[in-house]
């Protein structure tokens, strides 16, 4: 599974993207956020507080209940500020 981070989330993890192989019990975006919070302690708090972080699975907006699998690209980022 490929995980990507943008903006200040990327600065907190120190990596823009990583290939991971989470345990089988990681079935949703919410499960993945909890798993990644252990891997990146500086992300832990924000990943689990609602409303602060947005998710995308395969470049489509997703929510905590969206299923994720080994071939997916999952992204974590703050609310967008373009334009």
């Amino acid at each position: 599974m490929r995980v990507r981070y943008f903006a200040w989330l990327r600065q907190r993890t120190g990596v823009a993207e990583e290939e991971i192989d989470p345990p089988a019990e990681v079935r949703t975006v919410g499960d993945l956020a909890r798993y990644l919070a252990q891997r990146h302690p500086r992300l832990g708090e924000v990943l689990q507080s609602r409303g602060v972080v947005r998710f995308a699975v395969n470049q489509e907006y997703a929510d905590a209940d969206t299923p994720v699998g080994p071939r997916d690209e999952v992204a974590f980022f703050p609310p967008v500020t373009g334009g």
Binding site: R4, F6, A7, W8, A56, Q59, E60, Y61, A75, F77, P78, P79, V80, T81, G82, G83
Partner: protein, 153 residues
């Protein structure tokens, strides 16, 4: 047409080309967003736009399709710059062409409102006190919400 560019662009030149030769176009509306040199009290020296390559283009194409679904548009142009830029430089250009002005005006405003809340861009400001990520504004969410349509029956 959607374009994400990593260098300066010239809105006047883009507009001169836009819908050129289309004699059925009676109205062109456009919006240019530029980098400001201050945010209230704090001077802004430069701004860097980060984005999510791939998802950005996908979301912008979807915005264009939604605008064309809602209004009888004859042409649409969205150019968004990424990377580092200086105050006064254009960040974004949206232009819409239609037979009549209301479709052009409204779709241009719609595209900007949805772009600001859906397209995966993030602004990093350089100030004399250091760098800071721009926070999303609830007023942008409210502006986008006015274009929500009731679910189809």
């Amino acid at each position: 047409m959607i374009r994400v560019v990593d260098g300066p662009f010239d809105p006047a030149a883009e507009l001169a080309r836009f819908a050129r030769g289309r004699t059925d176009v009676g109205a062109v509306a456009s919006f240019v967003g530029r980098v400001r040199d201050h945010d209230g009290r704090v001077p802004i020296l430069a701004m860097t736009l980060e984005h999510y390559p791939g998802m950005t283009e996908r979301m912008l194409a979807r915005l264009e399709a939604e605008a064309r679904r809602r209004w009888p548009l004859l042409d649409v142009l969205v150019i968004h710059r990424v990377g580092r830029m200086l105050p006064g430089e254009p960040i974004v250009l949206v232009a819409t062409a239609a037979a009549h002005r209301h479709a052009a005006f409204e779709s241009c405003a719609f595209l900007m409102d949805w772009l600001k809340t859906r397209a995966p861009f993030w602004k990093l400001e350089e100030t004399p006190e250091g760098e800071r990520w721009v926070e999303a504004r609830s007023s942008d969410d409210e502006a986008a919400a006015r274009w929500e349509q009731p679910a189809a029956e």
